[in-house]
Symmetry: C2
Subunit: 157 residues, 2 copies
DNA sequence: TATACAATATATTGCGCAATATATTGTATA
DNA sequence: TATACAATATATTGCGCAATATATTGTATA
């Protein structure tokens, strides 16, 4: 829905990145709807991590995903409501609550798997059109992490 | 703060774009703080449009910016509180409320102007390192607008 | 003029995220 | 053992945005 941001302003790059992010999320949601996948797009990586771990606490998932613990905890109620995961007390550490995929959750991930190769192929072809968006984004992010805008601007004569 | 997203998952590109967007916003905020610029980063384009228009209603600004009218309206109270803009009833159309930059708002934009060339130079040098992030993002956004992921995936044999 | 419609503004709700504070439980150390 | 600290979870608040509904005012048309 949002138009491409115009360029006559200092925040053009951030707004462009945000526009791309929201566009991809919208279109992925549409794709999922077509495919009968009920996984919230923003929880894909969480469920992938959980499938890989088998069983994990919110704190573990957060570390794996590089997200905050609070954010993971905030996503879980929706996943519980959708019947994709279950929650158990850890028998050996009462501080922890462990999450697991349900059968339904595993089935949804399996359904997602059937699209993974196709989606990867789509992105590869897209990047042939546009330049390697993935590589460029990653390089830009790393460059800004290595040396933030403030330092770069301060170094201008 | 958020780490670079990992890649073993279908939402990698969206998460990467979002990470870049938030990184740029954070770093621009830091830059503004150093420079004594009190403009909210996400209102830069609004104030730029308002300066250009001289005087404009929320609906006009929304059209100019390609944002929703509601979003523009939501940003204005903060800008009023900061003393950057003022609000007036339109004498010829009672539906409209017109916004203008205050002297302080104009001064802040002038202060921002003194950094614009430097920031542009920084981005140009950054893009020499990373590939032309701006062009690649724009191309990717346009490609997805022209043909959404759903169609692209459906066309895979 | 009266009525329907368009344009504008406002209010409410919800999502996803960040930041902060607090409570609970486990672990290490005096 | 007692105490301090670490790890984990929970609750609250706020921001920025999207979506939706409603009220108000202007404009076009019967």
């Amino acid at each position: 829905m949002p138009a491409s941001p115009d360029l006559d302003d200092i925040s053009f790059l951030g707004r462009l990145a945000e526009a791309l992010s929201t566009r991809i999320e919208e279109q992925t949601r549409d794709l999922f709807a077509d495919a009968g996948i009920v996984i919230p797009v923003r929880s894909c990586s969480l469920l992938t991590a959980l499938r890989h771990a088998g069983e994990a606490s919110a704190a573990e998932l957060a570390r794996t995903l590089g997200q905050s613990h609070q954010l993971v905890v905030q996503k879980c109620p929706a996943l519980l409501r959708l019947g994709l995961i279950t929650q158990h007390a850890d028998p050996v550490d009462a501080r922890r609550k462990l999450f697991r995929l349900t059968d339904e959750g595993a089935a949804q991930m399996a359904l997602l798997d059937t699209y993974t190769a196709g989606i990867s192929a789509v992105y590869e072809r897209l990047f042939e059109e546009t330049g390697d968006t993935h590589a460029v984004l990653l390089k830009t992010l790393k460059a800004l992490d290595a040396r933030p805008l403030r330092e770069r601007v301060a170094a201008i004569p």
